[in-house]
Every structure is written in structure tokens, then in C-alpha cells.
Amino acid sequence: MRKRMFGSSGRDERKEMTAAGPRIHPLSVISMTFVFVFIAIVVALIAADLSYIGLGDVSAALAAPEIRAAIRLSAVTSLATLLLVALFGAPTGYALSRYRFPGRGIADTIVDMPIVLPPLIIGVSLLVFFQTDPGKWIETHGLKFVYTRKGIVLCQFLCSVSYAIRAAKASFDSDNQKLETLALTLGCTPMQAFRMVALPLARNGIVAGAILAWAHAVGIFGPLMVFAGCVRMKTEVLPTAIYLELSVGRIETALAIALLMLALAACMLAAIHRLAPGKRW
């Protein structure tokens, strides 16, 4: 067990620094025990799921038209959410990182609110909002959200965008702001400096944050039930499909869908770690 020490510069950047002395000591034993206990719990859960169902259950689930529709809807809505999240995350994170403005602290807190708020409350709040005059106005002017697929995207977006903003802000915070101002002396406008320097340097963090937000959005269940409903072949996504299958006693099908989502989540995390090495959420 090697403990990573302070980094070094230049060509030795990737070399891990380890202090001299014994590699196994009480601190390393205790902390690594916690790591192994956690891994054991997660592996036990997955193993239990796998032992409960067979490959036939998975292929049967995949063959069912309503499940295929749920997979399709999950993919389409979460990709739309990803797009919106990416569009919002970078500029919002940049503004919060770079600019000092009155009420910045409050803005920072509000951005974090969807992370700490139970998702169900977001669903209920949306439902209530669309009963108010501004909400009704939006609904009557061509943008119908309540119990529609657009509502799924709105719900997923509100529940997950904070993760993308937070990751983008952390990325802009850690990248060297001096390089951006230096670009100004070389002839850049502030917008060019953002596009040519700040954005490429923060790219991995932004992409990883957006993927994290996507992974979160795919798994949202409670607020969708409240705001978008759970109508088969219409507003049913994977998490709500699991709920519906469980409610009619088809545990094998529910588990098969769960395993599909698990595989998807594993792919996401692998992508995050590849895009932003060293960053862990």
C-alpha cells in the first residue's frame, strides 16, 4: 500500500512519491479494511441479483415490447437531458468560478439545492408550479410538460444539472486562470480566451460532470412518477418499469432491468474515470 504524497513538477509528475519506512501500518490497515468492506457489500448485492435470475430472464425482458419502449424512452430522454445539462453546466460553472457579483453566495447555494433536496420534492414542486398562472401560461403556449415526455426531460434536468454545474465549476476553479488572462494579451477577446483556453483545459471535468449528471438522470424515479406519470408505452422509463414490474410481482423481470441499468452505470463510471483521471465523485 503506497500512500501518495505531495506531487512533483516536470517530468516526474506521474511518479508516485512514497515515504520511506514500513508500507503496512495501522492507518493503512484500517482505511483499506473500510475499502474492502464496502466493495464486499456491493459485490454481494450484485451476486445476489445474478443468482436470483438467469440469462433467459434478461433476454425475455429485452424481448418484451413495453420494456424495449422503456429502454428507448430512457435513452432518448436522458440523452436530451445530457444535451441540456452540458449546455447549462459549462457557462454556469464558469460564471460561478470567475465572476464576483452581488448574491454570488446565494446563487452558489441555490445551484446546490437540487443535490440536497429529495428528488420527490422537485417532482411535486413542478406539479404545483404548472398549476400556477405562469405554469399554465407555458402549458397553453405549446410547451406541455405535465404527464408528457417533455416533463420527463424537465424533471431529469432539474434533478441532475447541479452535478454538472458543480463539476464544471470545480474544473474551472482548478484550471489556471492566469492562462486565460495571458491569452488576452496575445490578442484574444474574453470569448476567444474562453473558447481557446478555458474550455479546452476544463473539458475533461465538464464532460465527466455531464456524464455523472446523465447517470443520475437515468436513475430518477420518484419525481417522474409524480410529474410525468408512469403510463406503459408512453411515459414509462427504466426505473419506473422496475417499479411497475415489482408491483405486479415479476421480480425476475425487475431484476433483469436492474442489471441492464447496472451495466450502463458501470460503463458511465468507467468513462468518467477515463475522462477525468484523478477526479473521483
Partner: protein, 354 residues
């Protein structure tokens, strides 16, 4: 070329106070000062990276005080060189041209001469991550020069380099500047570095530009004791004027009577550069009849590589330097020697206290 007039800028408890500076076309100007004296703040103001609170900045007669950095035509090389890590060497060098909308092919053409001058050809396709300090500096310099600036700002350009290559790099900078004839401001806290590169220098202290002039003048005639100490001038004496003397004043310091130039009264603080002190074998006779000639004991010899620092005790402590093998006499600790302080080499501070 560059005129800074009454520039003011406040950052917390620190402030640039009414800084005024004139730099001629083609001049190599060193901005000297201890850490925290405001050198970097001043050049960041000039580059437009921070907004001045007051005063004006003119480049070739045009007021640029309120203009964005890109409108000022200044090439800036920061202390850490600030290479863009996501771009290779060539993309770094052409960055400014690309930002100005120059197509890549034309940009490559335009930097060709610069790449040859700075010998960057073999590095162009390399990532900036594996470059040595000297290579990084060259890339940063090429990037700043590629936009053909009217003024070049170098913020401590050699401080990140190994001691062994600093002199070579300074000589390179000098050669390049002479070749391109571009007005350059070189920020440093090392007076040896300023001496090596600059035509003229300015000394900053606590947010003020306290003295400007050719380096030789700064070394011989520092405005006050603080500047002299910053320039590491060791022979600074305090005494009291006791009588007038033809063309000067007799000052008593440490029990010795020393003739200094000019008419002085009261407390007098004066200096002489160690290199101006003349040392010869002890002679009581010369001491008795010579002006500012004192016999003293050699208290310590400190080796400084190319030269030795000699510290004599003659009532006052006098320091001089000797090159081993080139001195007129053999120096031994405890030996007696005659030191002469030529009156014309003595500088009296008009405002001793900074």
C-alpha cells in the same frame, strides 16, 4: 515609446503610488526591486491585465489606459511562462496569430524566422509538458514575439532556470533584443541580472519607483541608503561633519577622519563601492600624509568563487574584493594593509533614510 504617468493601483493593503516611467524605443529596461515591491503589479497594469485606479499609460503617444489587453500590442512573458498545456509547441507559438484570425498556413510562415532565431525547429511538434526550463522560456518568448508587439514585458524571465544557465540565457535575451530592436521591460529582483541585460533600470520599493537611470549610475549614486543596501553595496558609513575642506567636508566616522565631496553639516551617511577601495601593503607614512588612507587589519577572507571578499578593520569596517593571483599583495588574515578611499568615488546620500 512607453510613458507611464502617475499610475495608481490599490490591492488590499498594498498600493502602487504615482508611478511614472519613460521607456525609449529599442531600450532594454530592467525593473528591479525586492519581492513584494509591486514590480509584477506595475507590468500587469501596463499590459492591461488589471485595471489601473488612476494615472495614464501611453504607448507611442496613444493612451491605452482604458484599452483591453489585446489592443495594447504588448508581448507578455509571465514568470512561469504560462504555456498552454493543451497545445503543442507550434500551436503555442502561433496562438496570438490564430486569435487574430490568421490562417494556420500563413501563421506558420510568419513564425519561421522567429523559430530559426530561437532554434525551436526541432521542438515544434512536441508537447509542452516535457520541455526543460530553458526550452519553455524560448517557447513563451516566441509566442509573445510572434504577434510583433511594440513592447516586450518579461516578468522574472530567468528566475525559474538553473543558476548555471541564467547568464547564458540573459546573454541570449540581450542578443535577441538588440537584433529585434524591441523596447523591453525585464522584471527582476537580481541586480546582477539587471546589470547583465539592461541599458537602464528602475528600482521599485513599496509600490513606488524610487530611482531610475543607467545601472552604472545606480551603482555609483544610489538615491538613498535603502537602495544602496538593495544593490548590496557594503561600505556604508555614518559620521558627523566636523569641518570644511577644500572641495569637500571632513567627516568623523568610527574614530577616522574621512574627506567626502560637497559641503555637509550634521550627520552624514556615505558609501564607497568595494571595487573602488584601493588596497596596498601597510605604510604608516602614506597613512599619515595621504587623504582617506587608513592602515587596518584584515579581519576575514571569504571565497566567492571568482573573487575573494576581504573585510578590514580600521576603526570602521571596510570591504573590498580581490581576484586571487591578480592582487598587488598577498592577503593573510591578521595582516596589516593600507586602504585608500578615493574622495571622488565616495557618494554622500542627500536623503539617507528611505
Amino acid at each position: 515609446m512607453l510613458q507611464v504617468q502617475g499610475l495608481r493601483y490599490r490591492a488590499g493593503n498594498f498600493a502602487l503610488q504615482e508611478v511614472s516611467l519613460d521607456i525609449e524605443a529599442g531600450e532594454y529596461f530592467a525593473l528591479l526591486g525586492p519581492t513584494g515591491s509591486g514590480k509584477t503589479l506595475l507590468i500587469q497594469n501596463i499590459c492591461g491585465l488589471i485595471r489601473a485606479d488612476g494615472g495614464s499609460i501611453l504607448i507611442e503617444g496613444r493612451d491605452v489606459t482604458r484599452l483591453a489587453p489585446r489592443m495594447r500590442d504588448i508581448g507578455y512573458v509571465p514568470q512561469d511562462y504560462g504555456l498552454f498545456p493543451h497545445l503543442n509547441v507550434e500551436r503555442n507559438v502561433v496562438f496570438g496569430l490564430r486569435a487574430r484570425g490568421v490562417p494556420m498556413r500563413e501563421a506558420r510562415e510568419r513564425i519561421r524566422g522567429l523559430v530559426e532565431t530561437l532554434q525551436l525547429g526541432r521542438l515544434l511538434n512536441r508537447s509542452t509538458r516535457g520541455l526543460s526550463g530553458g526550452e519553455r522560456q524560448k517557447v513563451a518568448l516566441a509566442r509573445a514575439l510572434a504577434i510583433r508587439p511594440k513592447l516586450l514585458m518579461l516578468d522574472e524571465p530567468v528566475s525559474a532556470l538553473d543558476e548555471s544557465i541564467r547568464q547564458t540565457v540573459c546573454a541570449e535575451l540581450c542578443r535577441l533584443q538588440r537584433e529585434l530592436r524591441i523596447a523591453t521591460v525585464h522584471v527582476t529582483h537580481s541586480f546582477e541580472e539587471a546589470l547583465a541585460v539592461s541599458d537602464r533600470a528602475g528600482i521599485m520599493r513599496e509600490g513606488r519607483l524610487v530611482q531610475t537611470g543607467p545601472m552604472s549610475q545606480l551603482m555609483r549614486r544610489p538615491a538613498d541608503e535603502g537602495i544602496a543596501r538593495f544593490l548590496r553595496i557594503e561600505n556604508i558609513f555614518r559620521g558627523r561633519a566636523i569641518s570644511a575642506h577644500p572641495g569637500g567636508t571632513i567627516v568623523e566616522a568610527g574614530g577616522r577622519r574621512i574627506a567626502v565631496p560637497g559641503q555637509r553639516t550634521g550627520e552624514v551617511v556615505f558609501m564607497i563601492r568595494p571595487t573602488d577601495v584601493e588596497v596596498s601593503p601597510a605604510s604608516e607614512e602614506i597613512e599619515a600624509r595621504g587623504e582617506n588612507a587608513f592602515v587596518g587589519e584584515l579581519a576575514a577572507i571569504t571565497e566567492r568563487g571568482a573573487y575573494s571578499r576581504l573585510e578590514f578593520n580600521a576603526g570602521i569596517t571596510i570591504v573590498t574584493y580581490a581576484i586571487p593571483g591578480r592582487a598587488h599583495c598577498v592577503f593573510e588574515t591578521g595582516g596589516k594593509y593600507l586602504m585608500t578611499l578615493p574622495r571622488e568615488a565616495i557618494h554622500v546620500f542627500d536623503n539617507p533614510m528611505p
